[in-house]
């Protein structure tokens, strides 16, 4: 492809090819502090292609392709090329990652121990993990938590966090404008800006940690915390994993071990402040 960009995020190397220069330029800026893949050899490729021949120049629309493709996906506007690249990288990880059990979760680390925060896209885990990363925790990721089956350790995938609407203001107020990517208005997911993890988080992206607490948060409820049964946790985590089934017995072992060894809590919170204080409370009581 005419334009391309390579980057390493945690243990995964990506090569993003594009028919247009704009998404590549935007990626180069957003990922300026990230390393390159080892020996420049990518684990996954993403290609941003014109949906049809004509769409390269007329109302350009971007189809996301790569090693893995989601057929029937609606093409995106070129203005949102950065988001298309991110979705493409997510897709390759979700479908192609074999070395780690992937959980749809954010994670942060403190003193070698890892807090895992589960939740669907839009449930608030991204904002919470971004803020924890600015208040005494090392940010490991907001989209995927990587569990290594052989050791049970959690590894980082600290991609820029895509924040939407109000969450952008909340995080920018804490971290500053210099850590924010460009505004993309009117995307299928709303108005989006990326938040760049701190230099410390990026420098530590190859350091794993031991899972020490798993939280299931619910936003928009009165402040509360309650324990969860291991069976419920196990089933919910199989549904929060994009590759549990494809990993076969390795996935079973990794997940039963995680559930057996890691305390879990369900937390409800009405606002960010309650979330942060609940996290500290449960973390202190985690044993």
């Amino acid at each position: 492809m005419r334009h391309h960009y390579s980057v390493k995020v945690g243990p995964a190397g990506f090569r993003i090819g594009s028919a247009w220069p704009q998404p590549i330029a935007a990626l180069a800026q957003l990922y300026a502090l990230y390393p390159k893949p080892i020996d420049l050899i990518p684990d996954f490729t993403v290609r941003l292609e014109p949906d049809t021949r004509l769409r390269q120049w007329i109302r350009p629309s971007v189809a996301i392709r790569g090693d893995f493709t989601l057929p029937d996906a609606v093409p995106m506007s070129l203005d949102h090329g950065l988001l298309a690249a991110e979705l493409g990288m997510n897709l390759q990880m979700a479908m192609g990652q074999r070395n780690f059990l992937l959980l749809h979760a954010g994670s942060v680390e403190r003193d070698g121990e890892v807090l895992i925060v589960t939740g669907e896209s839009g449930a608030g885990k991204s904002t919470l993990c971004a803020l924890l990363g600015e208040t005494g925790w090392r940010f490991m990721g907001d989209e995927f938590a990587l569990i290594e089956p052989e050791t049970g350790l959690a590894w980082a995938f600290p991609r820029p966090v895509s924040l939407k609407n109000k969450a952008v203001d909340v995080v920018r107020a804490v971290a500053g404008e210099g850590r924010m990517g460009p505004m993309m208005a009117g995307t299928p997911k709303g108005d989006i800006r990326h938040f760049i993890p701190s230099p410390e988080a990026l420098a530590a992206m190859d350091k794993p940690g031991k899972p020490a607490l798993i939280l299931f948060p619910r936003f928009g409820y009165a402040r509360a915390a309650r324990p969860m049964g291991r069976a419920e946790v196990f089933v919910r985590l199989t549904q929060a994993s994009t590759n549990y089934v494809t990993l076969g017995e390795r996935g079973f072992k990794a997940l039963t071990r995680l559930v057996d060894e890691t305390p879990v809590g369900a937390i409800d919170y009405p606002d960010t402040e309650s979330a942060l204080s609940l996290v500290e409370e449960l973390w202190a009581a985690r044993r």
Binding site: L70, P71, D72, A94, T242, V245
Partner: protein, 127 residues
């Protein structure tokens, strides 16, 4: 259990747990299903095309253009629109009464390999 066995058990007390077979109608097994389609499909809005060139009969099968009772295709619906039609009975956008039912029937018949199938399948995953 006969008398002899009973005597043996009395001398070596062991805890035998009560085991119940469960009710006839109840389920004792939950099988883990792949969650992949649910998460990746939520990453990208998907679409389901109704083919042009042929008409769609009321039962969703493809028939020759102009067949009585059949409606034209040649439109594409988003996953969201189809989900709303299936779950909430909203009309498919831009569809006439007959097109709505014929197109929905066509969608319900989609098989793996046909355009729109992964999108349709992802709508079925339990939340």
């Amino acid at each position: 259990m006969n008398e002899e066995q009973h005597q043996q058990d009395m001398s070596v007390p062991t805890r035998r747990r009560l085991l119940q077979m469960g009710a006839i109608g109840a389920a004792a097994v939950v099988t883990v299903r792949p969650a992949m389609a649910q998460t990746t499909a939520s990453l990208l809005t998907c679409q389901i095309p109704i083919p042009s060139g042929q008409y769609i009969a009321a039962d969703g099968t493809l028939v020759a253009a102009g067949t009585p009772g059949a409606v034209p295709g040649g439109v594409t619906y988003t996953g969201e629109a189809v989900k709303a039609a299936l779950n909430l009975n909203y009309t498919l956008p831009g569809a006439t009464y007959d097109q709505h039912y014929a197109h929905l029937a066509y969608i319900r018949r989609l098989q793996s390999g046909q355009a729109g199938f992964t999108c349709y399948a992802s709508l079925q995953m339990p939340r």
